[in-house]
């Protein structure tokens, strides 16, 4: 571990391409030819080759990397696998990523952590949709160095013209994508041509071997020369005498004595100490895990970013970004997600999809939602102001992930383009007569009673009884339901998932205005998704939102069917009908859970009223 390797350091690269292009075989070949396969591993592979192998009597090198049982049987890599190998010149970490369309998210994962990509194409098939898709995703994720490995060149008789045609097709597509190096190499992973050894079968090829290129390529993109960015990960306060901010330097460098600013608050100080893994150091630079002590008692928390005074990140709560969707459940504008930017967690929603990118043609198309593996350019709104740099400037501070609030699945990956300036020009108006003052005039407590349940469950019936009773007690009330909103404010909305989300968002905003006016608002909406009910709950102050689950089994609703809708839905005459062709997600912790079967609407109303009266009295 001296000399050359320290100059070039570690190279992280990924391999991507279409199914059966031979990615796993290529990595197996690199490991095999680098003499990194241990004897017992090889014995296992030889045994497995006879059982699962696809290349007859030879050792199937793909079996070295296709790890999981299921994919061994299917012969497809279904996940990202990381492999390690080294030569006297350099160490490598390889992300083996799948070509299967539904696993594009894993390819993006591999790309986000890599500096170079090997994109495979089958010499017999040329540039396919997947080849273009992967080339584009590599570019979008900021990879600047790509290799096009034209594999199975043996199966086209080592033909130069075929190679040139494929390279030409690819270059036409890829040349505008901002790559710094694009290196096409004709290879046979199965037989090893031009992988680690120059092949005698391709005398017309004068470029480097694949391994030769990987050993030599310079991917240092001057991350140390960029602006200093230090996302605070953890506040280290073991005792009263020490207060430090731990984290990994995202970019640039800083030294003891440098002036820094906390990006979000604008507070400034100087760096008093830097603690590296072995104690005090004078400077820290990109990639270092350090603890920074400031000269002044400045308020700093996890998620804050320290930056130079004269060179701060942008700060915005609205910005435009590319979003790659990775979840089975589609991304709907208006729906709230958790967002992680650096070490900051906040909530965010897409306010508009500017366009969807067709990854095959790079053309833009209109979209109302993003499905799994789709990429869109979107406007975002976040609950907090977020410090960031454009992703093209800084991969560390310009990236974010979105997490589903209920399942906690990692649902989207985003790359920020720019802040939307208007965000800084909208100021919340403060009024002297406020919600509390208006409610006090009425001697009441403003609330939202949110009735959710299937169509025909009895929501509106119970809500009406509750409202009548409250009115008799002198309370100011108002009812919002589908009938008085669908015909007016929301008449542009249908019943697709995204329209349902927008419908509820608008209802929530209207309910919030009524609450602000001091009124008790009764809302009866099927509101089938937990995420939207939670969204409305979070618009209100603590304790203002009362979720009433009108729990009537779908069989009972079908039996009642007061509007004849279930009959139609079951015939297929109504699309997206909740309980029949669209899901209903029951509340997990409703404030009031009404079982309606075997009870009168009046009995149910009393239960709601009991809850409300306790709240108003308290």
């Amino acid at each position: 571990m001296h000399g050359m390797d320290t100059a070039r350091g570690l190279l992280r690269f990924l391999t991507c391409g279409s199914v059966d292009d031979g990615k796993s075989t290529l990595i197996g070949r690199l490991l095999y030819d680098s003499k990194l396969i241990m004897e017992d591993t090889l014995a296992t592979i030889e045994k497995d080759s006879r059982k699962h192998g696809t290349v007859g009597e030879e050792v199937d090198l793909a079996l070295l990397v296709d790890g999981l049982e299921a994919e061994r049987q299917q012969g497809i890599t279904i996940d990202v696998a990381y492999r390690f190998f080294g030569t006297p010149k350099r160490s490598f970490i390889v992300a083996d990523t799948p070509g299967h369309e539904q696993y594009t998210r894993n390819m993006a994962t591999g790309a986000s952590n890599s500096d170079l990509a090997i994109i495979l194409a089958d010499a017999r098939k040329g540039v396919l949709t997947q080849t273009r898709r992967h080339t584009y995703i590599c570019s979008l994720l900021g990879i600047r160095h790509v290799v096009l490995a034209v594999n199975k060149i043996d199966l086209v008789g080592f033909d130069e013209a075929t190679f040139d045609r494929i390279v030409g097709d690819w270059a036409t597509f890829a040349s505008g994508l901002g790559f710094q190096t694009m290196v096409p190499i004709p290879v046979s992973a199965r037989f090893g041509d031009n992988v680690t050894q120059r092949s005698g079968n391709t005398p017309w090829y004068r470029g480097p071997t694949l391994l030769g290129h990987l050993e030599a390529v310079d991917v240092e993109h001057g991350v140390e020369d960029k602006s200093f960015r230090f996302p605070v990960q953890w506040v280290n306060r073991p005792n009263l005498d020490f207060r430090g901010f731990s984290g990994s330097v995202a970019s640039g460098r800083a030294a003891v004595g440098d002036a820094v600013v906390v990006a979000a608050s604008g507070r400034t100080s100087h760096i008093a100490r830097i603690l590296g893994p072995d104690g005090d150091v004078d400077v820290c630079s990109a990639g270092d895990a350090v603890t920074i002590c400031l000269a002044d008692e400045v308020d700093v928390a996890r998620g804050d970013v320290l930056a130079p005074l004269a060179d701060r990140p942008e700060l915005a709560d609205q910005f435009a970004a590319h979003l790659l969707w990775m979840d089975e459940e589609a991304m709907l504008p208006g729906r709230q997600y958790l967002m992680r930017v650096g070490n900051l967690w906040t909530t965010a929603s897409v306010t508009a999809i500017k366009h969807r990118v067709d990854v095959n043609t790079l053309e833009h198309a209109a979209a109302k939602k993003l499905d799994l593996n789709e990429i869109g350019f979107c406007n975002f709104s976040t609950a907090m102001r977020v410090p960031f740099d454009a992703y093209t400037e800084n991969r560390q501070t310009g990236a974010f992930v979105l997490v589903d609030r209920l399942s906690n699945r990692t649902a989207g990956a985003g790359m920020i383009s720019f802040g939307l300036r208007r965000a800084t020009n909208i100021h919340q108006e403060e009024f002297l007569v406020d919600k509390r003052a208006r409610a006090a005039l009425d001697h009441q407590k403003p609330l939202v009673l949110w009735f959710t349940g299937l169509s025909g469950s009895g929501k509106s019936t119970v809500a009406k009884l509750v409202e009548q009773a409250l009115y008799r007690e002198g309370r100011h009330t108002y009812t919002l339901d589908g009938d008085n909103l669908r015909f007016g404010l929301n008449r542009d909305l249908g019943f697709t998932d995204q329209d349902r989300v927008e419908n509820i968002r608008r209802v929530g905003e209207v309910a919030k205005l009524f609450v602000d006016a001091g009124v008790i608002v009764l809302c009866s909406f099927i509101s089938p998704f937990r995420a939207e009910r939670r969204m409305v709950r979070e618009m209100m102050a603590d304790g203002e939102f009362i979720e009433v689950f009108v729990d009537t089994p779908v069989e009972e609703c079908i039996r009642r069917d007061p509007k004849g809708l279930y009959a139609k839905a079951l015939r297929g005459a109504i699309q997206n009908f909740t309980g029949v062709s669209s899901p209903y997600e029951p509340p997990e912790q409703a404030e009031v859970h009404l079982h309606t079967v075997g009870r009168t609407p009046e009995q149910a109303a009393v239960e709601v009223l009991d809850h409300v009266r306790r709240l108003i009295a308290s």
Binding site: M1, D5, T6, G9, L10, M38, E39, D40, T41, D48, V65, G67, L68, E69, A70, R72, I78, D79, V80, A81, Y82, R83, F84, S91, I93, R105, N106, A108, T109, S112, N113, Q233, W234, N236, R237, P238, N239, S246, G247, S248, L275, P277, D278, G287, D288, A289, T291, R302, M326, R340, R395, Q396, A399, F400, V401, V403, S407, N408, T410, A413
Partner: protein, 315 residues
């Protein structure tokens, strides 16, 4: 028994100075440990006493300096750990002033489960996997830090750094969260857990080079010494106590051996070696054409056994 626990001499100029690659791996691992402390309510470091655990512990001491790691250590004791390991464990924990939890499966102990009578599969399932789940549940740990590396085995190669576990501690290989840019998703629902692997991107060789450069204490069993050995089914087993009954024709021989991995002594194969120092051992490792896990008898039970064990909750 050998008394040297410090890394031996013979590593030359690299001692105390890390290569750029090791510096990068060190920084990455420290970042992951801090993320675990920041992102979870009640994390724990699973301390298996092996070389990888020793490195994780060393990194944890660095990550939270000048304070101590804000989480305890937990050792899952199967009753068949090498005596040297237990002695080493207690000494290290005392030296560092850390809190150690030792958990064994009481039910398994009561039933007398052991690797010699019940076989490695039953033993590891009851005394390893079940005991681990119990330990996590009893203390309500929501994140468990371990020393597993992606280069160890094929099923590990696809493991995440932050690896989600369902409320039943199972691993669903088809339902793992994508990890982009090191923006780890540490969110879990009530009852669920996370396994955290700071050494994901290290190789066996990185681990030993780091141990050498940082002078990290490791269990003396990694170094060659004359030990009491029984040859059984072509494998060298160190007879650490007389619970292992000799079969007809078997005898205990004094042989120069060392171990490449740590585990329960009846399930861990020794190999003949004269590598008494770290330098000699690194030389031996460079020459080796056998993988690390070849010495682990538990991995050979059945094809893809690691994946199966991981799904069931094994580390």
């Amino acid at each position: 028994m050998q008394s040297t626990t410090r890394a031996g001499p013979g590593v030359g100029a690299s001692a105390g100075r890390l290569t750029p690659q090791l510096r990068r791996l060190e920084a990455e691992a420290i970042g992951i440990l801090r993320e675990t402390a920041a992102g979870f309510r009640n994390p724990v470091l699973l301390y298996s006493i092996g070389k990888d655990s020793s490195v994780v512990l060393h990194l944890a001491m660095k990550a939270f300096a000048p304070g101590k790691p804000p989480f305890p250590l937990m050792h899952i004791a199967t009753g068949w750990d090498f005596r040297d390991m237990l002695e080493f464990r207690d000494r290290r924990v005392a030296e560092l002033g850390l809190r150690l939890i030792v958990h064994s499966n009481p039910d398994g102990l009561a039933r007398g489960i052991n690797p010699l009578d019940h076989g490695s599969q039953v033993h590891m399932s009851v005394m390893g996997t079940e005991a681990l789940k119990q330990g996590l549940d009893i203390h309500g740990f929501d994140a468990a830090i371990g020393g597993a590396r992606r280069d160890e085995e094929k099923a590990r190669a696809k493991e995440r750094v932050f690896s989600h576990r369902t409320a039943g501690h199972t691993w669903e290989p088809r339902n793992q969260r994508p990890e982009l840019w090191g923006l780890y998703n540490t969110r879990i629902n009530q009852g669920e857990g996370m396994r955290v692997f700071p050494l994901s991107n290290w190789t066996e060789f990185d681990v030993w080079e780091y141990i050498a450069a940082e002078n990290i204490p490791v269990v003396p069993l990694y170094f060659a010494a004359e030990r009491p050995i029984v040859k059984r089914d072509g494998i060298l087993i160190m007879r650490d106590d007389d619970r292992m009954k000799l079969r007809d024709g078997e005898q205990v021989e004094r042989m120069w051996v060392r171990f490449r991995t740590m585990g329960d002594w009846p399930l861990t194969a020794a190999h003949e070696s004269r590598a008494e120092t770290l330098g000699q051992m690194l030389d031996e490792l460079r020459e080796s054409r056998v993988s690390e896990r070849a010495g682990r008898l538990i991995d050979k039970d059945q094809e893809a056994s690691m994946e199966r064990k991981k799904r069931e909750g094994y580390f």
